[in-house]
Symmetry: C2
Subunit: 130 residues, 2 copies
């Protein structure tokens, strides 16, 4: 957790975020990865935010033309979220320099350690239920 705090502060201090917050970028990034529309609840699993907070954040991103929200035809109380072309563009523009920051931060690790970290985090993230 200490490591996470340190890294996040570094990333946050990097001047690459344009007029997005890191959390907003996180949403755009997640949407850009799992292509195909995502459900609110799916997205919520990836982002460290409460469901109402995420709901309103998506509101704002929709208002700003970065995200599209359309009701799921299969389950009409659900929602399908996807990036607009504009949103995809924004994500890429910010993602590029951010990826460099991440690479730089991870440079202190040896290749074996990187590999180990990948395995470990996958295990931890996979352990979703108690």
């Amino acid at each position: 957790m200490r490591a996470y705090a340190v890294l996040m502060k570094q990333f946050n201090a990097e001047d690459v975020w344009g007029d997005l917050t890191m959390r907003e970028y996180d949403v755009l990034y997640t949407l850009s990865k799992c292509d195909g529309p995502l459900r609110m609840s799916e997205l919520n699993r990836h982002v460290l935010l409460s469901q109402p907070a995420l709901s309103r954040m998506v509101d704002r991103l929709v208002d700003r033309g970065l995200v599209e929200r359309c009701t799921d035809p299969g389950d009409r109380r659900g929602v399908r979220l996807s990036l607009t072309p504009e949103g995809r563009k924004t994500q890429r523009e910010i993602g590029r320099p951010h990826a460099r920051s991440v690479t730089r931060a991870l440079n202190v690790l040896t290749p074996e350690e990187l590999e180990q970290l990948a395995v470990i985090t996958a295990k931890l993230a996979g352990n979703e239920e108690k």
Copy 2:
């Protein structure tokens, strides 16, 4: 980051926090570790919060009698923060069950992986400057 989000949501869902938030506990925990009074800025390095937010959070913890704030005699613009006995007690009461959650979460890792994780996070956290 995915792993962090998953773990944090698990921990947050655990019903062990009493009337503290996780962030507040984080402050109490940090103070309990580095014994001897901490400076605001030191504390801020450990906690993922902006300086003003931390300042106000300490306000609240002082009001609630968990933390003590006295001006540093050596540098009179600075502040020395320490737990009150009450604060120490609260930290321990919450820390115990929380530690169990953490242990449980880390149980999916092998002892070697735990060791590797410790090394890796130490390296990442040590890399504070760009």
